[in-house]
């Protein structure tokens, strides 16, 4: 088992910087998600941890050992590729035993180990089949089998469910998570699906343009985003942004929005200029007595809740409210924002520290 520490790693392809001095720590036994939009450098980061790509600078520690310039075979890791990368000229059994054979393990032992892994994954009946005819899910299991058979220090998975259809993804995601919980091996998992990351991960790193935007527990990242990018990328619908010109002093407990005072968590930092007030849709309540006014543009029914879109003087705002509330399109109403769940962002998009989010954000 392993703890992985990434320190200031950076990767350049020619003049293009794919990853810019990223740092984060993956604790032993964690299910760790690397999340970000396409092209943000998730795969590159994972490949540097694996040793398939050498960082331009920076350090990678696996169990306290600096490995950033070591070949993949010396890092004691297993990698599950997005397209599974099963050797097509070998059957399932050979595929799974391949990593063991390379270590020179005796034949009888290999056989026993392969059967054991097949048992865990429920693919015993497939062992002598060629990999060509397997379904996506079975290929995925075989690929996992090849990874776990070695008992590696950690698993690295690059969008392992990306090739499966939506329904099956969810099922495999549960299976993967259950497998992890049983084996307890450190797992680094790459995905661009924020929902998958939220559901499966113990911790999440959110990347954008090769930069680590935030790193922490899913709940913390959701509640207290460090940047507008994270606030917007995570959650569906994403966090609402109310843009306004103004200033806040350190220790303020309210901001002025179009002349009305709006309560916020007490700030720690001061800022002024084109500020952004962020609030999640579930923390917006329709309340006729509230000072912030809006006109209802649309309502989207989602079963127990509905998403109501309102037009305000500071841009469109979405509210997630119970579907038992009757809303009429075109109506004017007030919006009450939960003062405990508000994040202020400085003009460049960085979250301002407040008493509410400093516990989460101070370490980054």
């Amino acid at each position: 088992m392993a703890q992985i520490v990434i320190k200031n790693i950076r990767k350049e392809f020619g003049s293009f910087t794919a990853v810019q001095s990223s740092s984060f720590t993956i604790e032993d036994g964690e299910f760790f998600m690397l999340l970000g939009p396409s092209g943000c450098g998730k795969t590159t980061t994972l490949r540097m941890i694996a040793g398939l790509e050498l960082p331009t600078s920076g350090e990678i520690f696996i169990n306290g050992q600096e490995v950033s310039q070591k070949p993949a075979s010396q890092r004691d890791i297993a990698f599950v590729f997005q397209m599974f990368a099963l050797y097509p000229h070998m059957n399932v059994r050979k595929n799974i035993s391949y990593p063991l054979v390379s270590q020179g393990m005796p034949k009888a032992q290999v056989k026993a180990k392969v059967e054991e892994v097949a048992q865990i994954l429920g693919i015993t009946s497939l062992l002598d089949r060629p990999v060509g005819g397997l379904s996506g899910g079975d290929r995925q299991r075989v690929a996992l089998g090849r990874a776990i058979v070695r008992n590696p220090a950690c698993f690295l998975m690059d969008e392992p469910l990306g090739a499966l259809d939506a329904e099956f993804r969810e099922h495999m995601a549960e299976e993967l998570r259950a497998l992890h919980d049983r084996m307890g091996a450190t797992t680094v998992y790459v995905t661009h699906d924020q929902l998958e990351a939220m559901q499966m991960g113990d911790k999440i790193v959110v990347m954008n343009h090769g930069v680590v935007e935030q790193f922490g527990r899913p709940q913390d990242i959701y509640d207290w985003p460090a940047t507008t990018f994270v606030a917007n990328f995570i959650g569906s619908p994403p966090m609402n942004f109310l843009r306004f010109d103004g200033s806040v002093a350190a220790g303020a407990t309210a901001v002025a929005l179009s002349g009305h005072s709006l309560a916020i968590p007490q700030t720690v930092e001061a800022a002024s200029g084109a500020l952004i007030l962020g609030v999640r849709p579930e923390n917006v309540h329709l309340d006729d007595t509230a000072a912030l006014r809006g006109r209802i543009l649309a309502a989207e029914y989602l079963g127990t809740t509905q998403i109501v879109t309102l037009d305000t003087a500071h841009g469109q705002v979405k509210a997630r409210i119970g579907s038992d509330t009757v809303v009429r399109i075109g109506d004017q109403t007030g919006l009450r924002l939960d003062p405990r769940a508000i994040t202020l962002f400085a003009p460049q998009g960085r979250a301002l520290l407040s008493v509410a989010n400093q516990r989460v954000l101070a370490h980054g």
Binding site: S73, M83, H89
Partner: protein, 312 residues
């Protein structure tokens, strides 16, 4: 009446069938003619109108493999009865066998040079193609274009410089010289063909092998090569066909020790009248190895040619 886009109608099947059969006849007729001529007697072989039905004879094959000389009937009588069936054939024409012909040696030369250069082209081609496909090679595109450009003129256009060069190097009429020459000509084809095949093999396979604890070379050897087998087989066939059939360089650069069969076969005509059956027999036998080789690799060849088009 039902109509289907994918299943051909009866009429389409008929038309396709007729086209295929016609094409087969056109391409196979010369082959049939050559094989038949090999089993004719010399008078039958030049009979007009051509004889379709004839009594087969092995004269052509006997003449192909032997050198003979004419003797007087008295001397022939003094020799006593012929010892073997081929002696008997030869003596009908007042001749005796004086020894084996050169055909066997020339044929062996063709085998050594053809397969030797094919092996070398494919071996070097695979290594080069792998490097071009997987590694950052400085000036990669320019190099690849340069390699291709060696095919842009007919190889024979450089025959004179090569002849002079080979004379200086003492490579004229040597096996090594011919193997190197055919390899040089084939290499561009093999690098390009094989690069295409290797590009199609996902790099993840090798990366998985690297992580599984194999070295780069082991990954190449155990993962890439088996998957490139189809491409290697079809490339080998193309290389062999060229080296086996090559005539112009062989005429120019070989005359003795390293002469291959193609320049040798026509010279059979001159030894002892217009001996068409012997020439045809030589050509027939010459076809056999390449046919066997192609048939053995047929499955790969078909897969190789359609590769990419039918990848799922």
């Amino acid at each position: 009446m039902s109509f289907s886009i994918t299943d051909p109608s009866r009429r389409q099947k008929w038309i396709a069938g007729i086209l295929v059969v016609t094409y087969a006849i056109v391409t196979l007729l010369p082959l049939v003619w050559i094989i038949a001529t090999g089993f004719k007697t010399p008078p039958d072989s030049i009979a007009y109108p051509p004889k379709v039905f004839f009594s087969p004879s092995l004269e052509g094959y006997v003449n192909l493999f032997t050198s003979r000389s004419r003797v007087t009937p008295e001397d022939l009588a003094a020799l006593g009865p012929p010892a073997t069936w081929y002696d008997a054939i030869v003596r009908q024409y007042d001749m005796v066998i004086t020894g084996p012909s050169r055909y066997g040696e020339r044929f062996l030369n063709s085998v050594i040079i053809g397969f030797g250069s094919t092996f070398l082209s494919v071996f070097l081609g695979t290594i080069a193609a792998y490097a071009f496909s997987r590694f950052k090679v400085p000036l990669k595109d320019d190099l690849l274009f340069f390699i291709l450009s060696t095919r842009m003129m007919p190889p024979i256009a450089v025959a004179i410089p090569i002849f002079l060069m080979y004379r200086q190097l003492g490579l004229n009429d040597t096996h090594l010289g011919m193997i190197l020459l055919y390899t040089a000509v084939n290499l561009s084809l093999s690098v390009w063909l094989l690069k295409g095949f290797i590009d199609e093999i996902p790099i993840e396979y090798e990366e998985a092998a690297l992580i599984d604890g194999y070295t780069r070379f082991q990954a190449f050897y155990k993962v890439v090569l088996p998957q490139a087998a189809t491409g290697i087989a079809s490339t080998a066939i193309f290389c062999l066909i060229f080296a086996w059939n090559e005539y112009a360089f062989a005429v120019l650069l070989t005359s003795g020790d390293a002469q291959t069969a193609p320049p040798f076969i026509p010279t059979i005509i001159g030894t002892g009248g217009k001996d068409w059956p012997a020439v045809a027999a030589g050509a027939t036998l010459f076809l056999v190895p390449i046919m066997v080789f192609t048939i053995l690799l047929r499955k790969h060849l078909l897969r190789g040619i359609t590769f990419g088009a039918v990848r799922k």
